[in-house]
Symmetry: C2
């Protein structure tokens, strides 16, 4: 049976891929993905056929992957981070109902929440919520409700897609919601270009984060009430009891 | 400067480690960890010195790692999953304030939320919350508040440490809280022994999950209101808008 691997490639650098992900790509004749992600790994898999589709063409990309697999090829569909967190694993399983002769295997990768946390320090050591600020496929009220509940519950919060040209003030709006429940001194952090050239971190207060300009290559962390700044690193303790 | 790597080794199988994690272990003279995790990787790094400490001795384990590094050795402290998610990265950075001559590097791994999701299908494609049901270091009221807020916000929910001998009814209590906000037909799933011998999944309703017996090697997933059971796989769509 032909194989379709849905592969999370992690933040970008080859070394942050798992052996399992590398093996799947090696076993594939065709590697498919959004242009930017394919470019990140292309040099390491030179002998493969690469097919790319632009952003927002996710359904087309999944169909293409199944069509190629149906031709009798092993295919990898690559996603940045983890294929199962805001990745293509879900769409592939939905669309896969029409392609019963293709065997799908989901291969997880290091998601930005994890890879960014490691650069920032240890912001996600305790319970946390992951929220995307993109309202392309989600109503804004739903996103706002989640921000509110996450802040009310004192979760550590990791924000994906914190900004874009059209959504330049979304991080500010998100911080304003969290500020209703959390102190303006809450320790926060941002990581830019995780695992890629120009990787940079900044640790700051929630008040400062509110006025911070970020881009779409940034992952944002809002600490819980216990999170500390230790020598410029963002660190959340593992519990609320003194031990 | 001596290096102390805090390494997430992923769910257990060697192939789910990243190249970066493997390189850190190769560069280390000493590998330290909780006995069970050290046993998972021992065979692949036969020439190393292995030091183990029992469960609940996390502070001792971190001190031991720094003491060994101070002797002039490169040291890896291994954690299952991701070292930054309920892992040792936080404690190491806290304790590290006393050991300025040791350079710490956090190396992320695939956390159970990701590795389990890949086996179950794609439960975490959209916004989600990760909650540990262990009340060893966290007051139960805090955990209950988080469950309530996560359910109210319609997050996908991933539960770590869902049960133990002493806490045999915690999953039932957690489900009862979620059931105040979510339908009893909400699609849920459990994964046992992720990436290890005896790996098994089960997809069920929230009502069924409430009466499910699980052990400490199980990761539990509660879907959001849109999550579906597709051919026995748990799949969450990427958004709330029809596309």
């Amino acid at each position: 049976m032909n194989k379709l691997y849905v592969v999370g490639i992690g933040p970008g650098e080859y070394e942050q891929m798992t052996i399992k992900a590398i093996n799947a790509l090696k076993e594939s004749e065709v590697i498919i993905g959004y242009t930017v992600y394919v470019d990140l790994i292309k040099d390491h898999f030179g002998d493969k056929e690469f097919l790319t589709t632009p952003m927002k063409k996710e359904v087309d990309r999944c169909m293409l992957a199944f069509e190629e697999a149906q031709k009798g090829k092993n295919v990898s569909l690559v996603c940045s981070g983890d294929s199962g967190i805001y990745g293509m694993a879900g769409l592939i399983l939905e669309i896969g109902q029409k392609y019963e002769c293709v065997e799908v295997e989901i291969i997880p990768g290091i998601t930005a929440a994890s890879s960014g946390a490691a650069v920032l320090g240890a912001p996600l050591i305790h319970d946390f919520a992951v929220i995307s600020l993109s309202d392309l496929l989600t109503p804004m009220e739903k996103i706002e409700k989640r921000l509110q509940c996450a802040a009310e519950a004192d979760f550590g919060i990791c924000l994906y897609n914190p900004s874009s040209k059209k959504r330049f003030d979304y991080l500010q709006k998100a911080c304003d919601i969290v500020l209703k429940f959390a102190s303006e001194d809450t320790v926060c952090g941002v990581v830019r270009n995780i695992g890629r050239e120009g990787e940079a971190i900044e640790v700051m207060s929630l008040k400062e984060l509110r006025d911070k300009e970020v881009d779409m290559f940034t992952t944002v962390y809002i600490g819980n009430s216990q999170t500390k700044n230790i020598n410029g690193k963002m660190v959340t303790p593992r519990g609320y009891k003194n031990v």
